[in-house]
Symmetry: C5
Subunit: 274 residues, 5 copies
């Protein structure tokens, strides 16, 4: 097949090896494109690769690591036959557009994930799980960004400046792909920024929680320490401690202890320490 279509050996090597970054390389009058398809899992994001060879009169695509097909692209081509007169450039566009359009639901899913996390962070729940999920989220964002960023500059070259022969006449379409990529990229930048902020917010909430735990503990400690001190005083062995001989003094002291604790409890409550 390499011989039949006169594909460049470096491009064929890239397509069969995989693990390329997204790019569009020109080889003479044909283009070799690599796109990343990103699929979200609970703790990770997986990348599948789509390699496309586009020459003046052919488009070959090679999928790696995804079940997802491109029937929609074929259907679209059949639905809008007048567009097919643009030739292989339009097919290349349709494939890229299809891949790029799949980024949007991924971004949406990540935004929903962040919103859920925000609620949990501000409610002060499960700080530990939040840290891990923010970390995972950051990682997924990185995977998506690595799929999107390199394409931005690349698609720009397909409609502005010296446009490759294959894309002639379809520049408006590639600009549209470029616009979509910029939108994804902007959303990713925003998400990334907010995830970073959410991380530092989480740390602040943890520190704040520590303050509150400290206050609560100290309050309870006080409720125990005060009666202990009073009991200690009346445990002293002085010969002349007149209170010790008063019959109602014992219940009175117990009552005093209880009263002090009730009073302190109230004050701590009011101060928001308990």
């Amino acid at each position: 097949m390499q011989a039949e279509f006169d594909l460049h050996p470096l491009a064929v090597e890239d397509a069969s090896h995989g693990h390329q970054r997204p790019k569009v390389d020109e080889y003479g009058d044909s283009l070799f494109a690599v796109l990343h398809i990103v699929e979200l899992h609970e703790h990770d994001a997986e990348v599948a690769e789509l390699s496309i060879f586009a020459g003046p009169n052919y488009v070959l695509s090679v999928r790696k690591g995804t079940e997802h097909g491109f029937i929609a692209v074929r259907e679209r081509a059949e639905r809008e036959p007048e567009l097919l007169r643009h030739g292989s450039g339009f097919v290349l566009y349709a494939l890229m557009d299809n891949v790029v359009d799949r980024y949007f639901p991924v971004v949406d899913a990540l935004e929903v994930e962040l919103e859920k996390l925000e609620q949990r962070i501000f409610s002060g729940d499960s700080a530990k799980a939040n840290i891990q999920e923010l970390y995972d989220l950051k990682h997924k964002l990185m995977v998506l960004r690595h799929a999107v960023e390199p394409l931005i500059e690349v698609t720009h070259r397909l409609y502005g400046g010296r446009v490759p022969q294959v894309c002639m006449g379809t520049q408006d379409y590639f600009r549209d792909v470029h616009d979509h990529l910029l939108r994804v990229s902007q959303a990713l930048d925003g998400l990334r920024d907010m995830v970073g902020t959410a991380m530092s917010v989480n740390l602040s909430m943890i520190t704040l929680a520590e303050n509150e735990v400290t206050k609560r503990l100290a309050s309870y400690a006080a409720l125990v320490a005060i009666p202990t001190m009073i009991a200690g005083i009346y445990g002293m062995n002085f010969k002349y401690m007149p209170e010790l001989d008063i019959p109602w003094m014992y219940p009175a002291i117990l009552a005093l202890m209880a009263a002090l604790d009730v009073y302190l409890y109230g004050r701590f409550r009011k101060a928001g320490w308990l």
Copy 2:
């Protein structure tokens, strides 16, 4: 309508779908612009979209998600008819100028919000609410930045370099819009920087508050522990403890306890621990 004005299908699709980022695309001799109108709410900022089709002799605008109209633009056009001789370029400018001018009160409102937050942060009040509001503020800034940043480069292309046909003769006006966007952008950058700083200041204040709580607690603990220790000593059961037989010793010890506590209280006060 698409047929009548010969609008490009991609532009029409963008205008009807919405969720575009701000941009100005050239289609032949006509322009398609998307602008974001930002409206502030208490916890969020909402974005409405204005799509504008500007050809040599027509300007169409489509609003999405806002009640806000553009009567002011029409009134201005009628008030300054000599400007209308610049044609549809001037109407495009008037619409953009109107949208951009609405960013300033939003920026002002965010600056007022930050100032209020700063006061609360430095007074040490409601650290938790501050975190949440700083986070919300950061989010609103992001929404506004996403509306403004893409337009900066875009408006630059409307007065510098190869100017689109529609904008010929009104470059000075688009440069003015560009200047205003740069001003908004600079204010946003400043706000963003200060919000980040305010967040780390808030964390410092929380840590500082913890120091102060720790000191206060320890002070009170000392006020209780010292009498408890003294009471413990006189609670020992040694046969020969001469103090125990001295009649004035009990009140003397109580006085000593009180005196020690008063002294300690004074010292803690002076050291700023209480």
Copy 3:
């Protein structure tokens, strides 16, 4: 006046409205420049605006919000008449140079402020006040940066590339202004970097102070807890506690308590806990 000098309505509007960012706009063969004059106050930095209209044979300047005049510029022009033959370009330069030269003492004042703060931070004093002053300092830096940064690119256009007619023959002078702005900008970047670092240093010092408070408190707690425990032991009511009958045991135990505390105090002191 607008009519007499044929000033562009947009420029006149900018000059009378104020609140512009620093810029130099070309309108035909004349220039409209906006410069910021920054004056420091204790907690803030204030911005005054200087608008300059420079045409082939006139220079108009409008001040807003400052008492500071430009007599020095007039004196310089009279002192170096040979320079005036460069025309209005030289007067524009002299005004800009005067404004830019006023940035240096502001930068110096901010550097002195930071040095004072550094000393206080490292001495561990007044952490709270330090936070606030660092925040204020950061804000002042931002105001100054917003005055300086936009001018850097702007002055570059006055001596490199396509130079406006008005500035012809005085490029070397505008390059000198550009050099000065770069110097201010570099100093501001340095200051900004060090302020950020000082903020995180302050947080580290606060956390460190907490460590030290915790250690000190624990040391004092130990000095009280040990005698309390010993007293508790001799407060037990066992019938057969031979020590209780030894006459010198009570003072011996008191001495033991004291000895233990002296020993512990020494160890804590040596360990740097007290």
Copy 4:
């Protein structure tokens, strides 16, 4: 040798001195390239230098500080003789490609290292060792980045724009090297970002661990303080304490103490404090 091949004295000096940054300098019609070979050790990354002189009809290479040879390059050249007709440009490419391909296993090793660290961080183990290893990891990343970053711009100049004579006809190959470098660079950026995040996650985990230690300690303190308080109360010396005369009161109080502790233990457990 310098004379025989007419090498530029500055290039010869660079090659013999070593400690150069990666670069490709043109001297007339010959190229002088410096590449870094990075080898990982447990706590560090070591850099060896490869200097290459490539003229129209010769390629000289000088290794410094590595045992690693380039037999593979020679073998490849012999295996694909048709490529050798591209001349010394192809040999230069083969050497560069060999060096760049060695970066991938280093990146992989660092990714594995980070993953191991992530697991340890989230399990809360050995926070101190984690900090040190993250620091070492960051340092290794820096060494690798300093090897890779300068080459990116440099290889770009070997296939785009004005291509040096030596590289004519092999541009596609140098673009392939450039693509590989971009991939390494992207992976490094991602790693760097995640290492930074992992560091702040580690700090959050430490702070969180402190919260948990504080809670646990306070729980145990309560389990001891409550019985101590009760014991203190029944250690008071009041004449009229009716409970003291009830025979089953002593075991009952002991049982009460035990019951309170069991109850508290249960509650602390449920609250996740123990």
Copy 5:
């Protein structure tokens, strides 16, 4: 002298005033260069200025604030007379090369300083001194970066693009200076990054140290609290406490206290709390 060599008044003013940022300005067919010589002190880095006027047939240099001379440059010129035929461009190069070569030992000294600090940070020693020294180190880096960064762009203009007349024929030499500056700059960027990381590592170590102090304190507190509780129980005044009458009970209880403490000490030790 100004008149004799026809030096530009702005350049002369800069040279005599000092406090310029590094730069190379063209005045007609002569160049005016300002370079910074950086000398390290214990807590600071000092900057001396070297101003160079280089015309077609003369080179003047003015030193400010350093004892360091340029005899080495003169010696080199005499040693390599064939290079002097390149004229004043080569002398300018030799001076710049001499200044730039002095940056390397400064960078090396800062790297050694950082390595020492790293060891102290990871050993957990003297956290306070570490903070201050990291701050000083950061400041020195900034001074050096302010000397180096501006020169990078400046030296680029001396060999690439439109080369000034004076530097014609010596471009390879200025590119060599440029390469050296890039190497210094890369080393500084690395250092700066690692200093920032070391700062956050230091904060993590402080927080970690706090955790350890808290654990140790709590362990010791437990060792005291448990015997105190037991003593309290046997200090109760119940009539019927059968243990109190058993003769071996007192030593048995003391032994129990000791045994519990030994057991707890062992557990705390094993858990790494002591």
